[in-house]
Symmetry: C2
């Protein structure tokens, strides 16, 4: 019976992570974090057409990361960071794994091949 909720959450995470998986959209969110902006303002910095930027904003909306208020012909967008919390909750469960130096060492002992050379 809770399955539906859980499923929903997964779908929501899909939307959020997908929305974040694009530089343009992350940059838009970054600007929205500072202040509200119209669609035109959000689109302005980019070379792409207004229509393309508009689509990006829509995918941010579908992920519920952005809310829009239409006033006259102008569409004001603001951020809603709450879904990011869910994403963060998910992440936090995993990053701790690497925290302890000891684990890092164990890892190395077990697999000396791909060690700390890191090759980046």
């Amino acid at each position: 019976m809770f399955n539906r909720m859980v499923k929903q959450n997964h779908v929501r995470l899909d939307l959020v992570f997908h929305a974040l998986g694009d530089q343009t959209r992350r940059a838009m969110l970054a600007r929205l974090a500072k202040s509200e902006h119209t669609v035109g303002e959000l689109a302005a910095p980019y070379r792409m057409s207004l229509a393309a930027a508009s689509k990006h904003i829509r995918t941010l909306e579908r992920a519920r990361l952005v809310k829009r208020t239409v006033r006259g012909r102008i569409h004001y967008c603001r951020i809603d960071p709450r879904p990011l919390e869910h994403a963060d909750d998910w992440l936090r469960g995993y990053e701790r794994l690497w925290d302890t130096r000891i684990e890092r060492l164990v890892e190395l002992l077990r697999h000396p091949d791909n060690g700390p050379s890191d090759s980046r």
Copy 2:
């Protein structure tokens, strides 16, 4: 001169968030967080073909979230949560925005239309 590094980071974030934007891959990471697994083991719970699962693992690898050690014909996978930290760093900058109850109220006063009804 730092531009290359910055750009690289954005591309890396793209890869990480994209990798996370899929239920199957998130579930694989979840299992890998508990212990090491072979490709076959990771693929087993799913209906999809082994080849498909193998592709998912590759996209996790490209995002550097998974490391692989080949021993004989068996490929062992383990998680590397370090890239998740970067993703988390990015996220943490934004979620704070909504923390204060006051901001929530201000938001409501400015835009009474799409209030806390939330409509999910």
